[in-house]
């Protein structure tokens, strides 16, 4: 009896120790990811901050590091991202509305569901190949802002659709039924009740979508965005470069000055992305608070 309880106590202690050890292990794993994030930010700011000034933002790229800047790539990013957002938002929301509000439950819709989930998982570089074949060659758009924006639209559309669907799904069906019961048509219900109620969720999704478009590099390399562009695009039919490609081309150069320039451009890119991220967190927070009432 005595011995048995001793053995039990010993085992209990061992189990408790194992629990503490495991806690330490998983904590370390999580901390690792955050330490890497800190190291990345620290390294980028240490190398890039000294190069970041008004001259850097307003100059064109140059072979002389001191004179180089990101004016053309910043404008290119602005052009491509704006057109992408203008195309993605309506098409994405319309698709989401159809799939959530109208779609019958049948095999075809099931297929479309799976198709969209798959498109979200297709590597971005494959979208670049699509853009090269269809927009640059097939539609003869050439290596233009428009070809880039169309390629980017197809790339980010699945994200827009998936997030908008989640937003629409969170609208309680009692709201829909009440409005329908008053004799409204389906579209009236959607336009006046469902979409307004889902709007903050849809906006959060579109911020996520746009930030994905801002950070993408590979597909635009494929469709031939240039790495050395000494002009800002003036129309959708101009050649262009974007911030991530400018970073890519600077990182590829062996001289340390250029990698510092890349770090400075990364700071600009991250500031844009992080502030968008902050807006979406704030929107979600506000939305949750309102729903909690």
């Amino acid at each position: 009896m005595e011995e048995e309880s001793l053995a039990f106590k010993r085992r209990l202690k061992r189990r408790a120790r194992l629990d503490v050890a495991f806690h330490g292990l998983v904590l370390m794993a999580t901390a690792f990811a955050l330490i890497v994030l800190a190291a990345l930010l620290f390294d980028v700011f240490r190398k890039g901050l000294g190069w970041l000034d008004f001259q850097f933002l307003s100059s064109f790229p140059s072979r002389i590091p001191e004179r180089a800047g990101i004016h053309s790539s910043l404008m290119g990013t602005l052009w491509v991202t704006s057109i992408t957002a203008l195309l993605t938002f309506p098409i994405g929301v319309a698709t989401a509305i159809f799939l959530e509000e109208y779609a019958p439950k049948n095999r075809l819709m099931n297929f479309i569901d799976i198709n969209i989930a798959n498109l979200a998982g297709v590597p971005s570089i494959v979208y670049g190949i699509l853009g090269l074949a269809i927009f640059v060659r097939g539609m003869m758009l050439g290596r233009t802002v428009l070809a880039g924006a169309l390629t980017m639209t197809l790339l980010v559309l699945p994200i827009m659709i998936i997030t908008s669907r989640e937003a629409l799904r969170s609208v309680p069906s009692s709201l829909r039924l009440a409005f329908l019961a008053m004799g409204a048509t389906k579209w009236q219900t959607i336009r006046h009740i469902v979409v307004p109620a889902a709007l903050s969720g849809i906006f959060t999704g579109s911020i996520l979508t746009v930030s994905r478009a801002i950070g993408e590099t590979a597909p635009l390399i494929l469709i031939g965005a240039l790495s050395f562009v000494a002009f800002a695009p003036r129309s959708p039919f101009d050649g262009f470069t974007v911030l991530p490609i400018q970073i890519f081309s600077w990182v590829s150069r062996p001289q340390a000055e250029f990698s510092n320039l890349a770090a400075a451009a990364i700071i600009v890119l991250l500031i844009v992305l992080l502030s968008m991220n902050a807006v979406s967190v704030w929107l979600r927070h506000r939305y949750e608070k309102r729903n909690g009432k």
């Binding site: 194992l18 629990d19 495991f22 292990l25 998983v26 904590l27 794993a29 999580t30 990811a33 955050l34 190291a39 990345l40 980028v44 098409i91 319309a94 698709t95 509305i97 159809f98 799939l99 109208y102 779609a103 479309i112 799976i114 198709n115 798959n118 498109l119 998982g121 297709v122 590597p123 971005s124 570089i125 494959v126 670049g128 190949i129 699509l130 090269l132 074949a133 269809i134 060659r137 559309l157 409005f179 008053m182 004799g183 409204a184 389906k186 579209w187 950070g215 590099t217 590979a218 390399i221 494929l222 031939g224 991530p244 970073i247 890519f248 990182v251 992305l273 992080l274 991220n277 967190v281």
Partner: protein
């Protein structure tokens, strides 16, 4: 006319012409929305068509057997060889290295967040992991080449500047948030009652996490692994910057290699005239990449759908 008035109108009989107009309008809207849905189907069709046509014309010039069995990949040299194996080997090293980093760490942090972390800690850690997920891959590429490689070279002096090791570690870091958030969703879906039953029987948190929560959420965790690996295969910028541009049939991570994606980028950077065999290699390699990631994505979805434990 506001919503209230509209609702009032419908309490009375509307003139038949108006009813008909409304019906037509609803139809039109339905068709417009359906048109948008078809965009996503068209995208898939477009991807497949553009890949298949050029790939077909590639295999008119290069026999499939050579593509699969030749051990050299040298389309850019005078002595051209089109053996895909070196690029597949390069991709494989990256994928194995990234999995070794991301799967254990991602799963561990999912277990931490779902079992150990206090709500306050969770509230801080989750958005930070989202930040990690939102960092553009070109920035990770910079990090691999400018930070991780020099760090590794301090320990491994004969590591080449461009090497698979550094790139695969950073690809792994990039997919950690994906593994951890998808796994955590799966583990979070395990009913509270199961955990509480475990605790009531006197189990420690370690036992609840590994013997109750993890087995119950295993299919979701597996799906997150598969999707993350598929993402690692398709990852481009990190490997293009840090892993090198030398297609080599090797499994040594200390050397410079080339992945399928990095090859596509390398060719696109140069001026490649339409219709040449080099131009067509983009599509042939892209086709293989698409097929592999497509199969993995389907598998990932099947695993989540088929093996999801259903609780009341």
């Amino acid at each position: 006319m506001n919503a209230e008035q509209k609702a009032k109108n419908t309490m009375f009989e509307l003139p038949p012409a108006k009813v008909r107009m409304r019906k037509i309008k609803e139809r039109l809207i339905y068709s417009a929305l359906l048109g948008c849905v078809l965009m996503s189907v068209l995208t898939t069709v477009g991807i497949i068509l553009s890949l298949v046509t050029e790939t077909y014309s590639f295999f008119q010039e290069v026999p499939l057997v050579a593509f699969l069995t030749d051990t050299r990949w040298t389309p850019l040299f005078a002595d051209k060889h089109f053996g895909i194996m070196p690029l597949v080997a390069g991709t494989l090293i990256i994928l194995v290295g990234a999995s070794l980093v991301a799967l254990p760490i991602g799963l561990a942090s999912a277990l931490y967040l779902s079992t150990y972390a206090k709500p306050g800690v969770r509230k801080v850690v989750k958005p930070l992991l989202e930040v990690l997920a939102g960092i553009p891959t070109v920035v990770y590429g910079y990090f691999a080449l400018m930070f991780v490689t020099p760090l590794l070279r301090a320990f491994i002096p004969d590591l080449s500047i461009f090497n698979a090791l550094s790139a695969s570690i950073v690809v792994g870091i990039m997919i950690i948030p994906m593994v951890s958030s998808l796994s955590e969703d799966a583990l979070g879906a395990v009913p509270r009652s199961l955990r509480e039953a475990g605790f009531a029987l006197g189990a420690t948190r370690f036992e609840v996490a590994t013997k109750i929560v993890l087995p119950a959420g295993l299919s979701g965790v597996m799906a997150s692994f598969i999707l993350a690996i598929s993402r690692a295969i398709g990852e481009t910028m990190i490997v293009a910057l840090a892993a090198g541009a030398t297609p080599k049939l090797t499994l040594n991570p200390l050397e410079s290699i080339q992945t399928m994606t990095a090859y596509i980028v390398q060719v696109s950077m140069g001026d490649t005239p339409h219709g040449t065999i080099v131009y067509k290699t983009i599509f042939a390699v892209g086709m293989l990449l698409f097929l592999v990631t497509f199969a993995m994505n389907i598998l990932g979805q099947l695993v989540t759908r088929r093996y999801r434990e259903v609780y009341e």
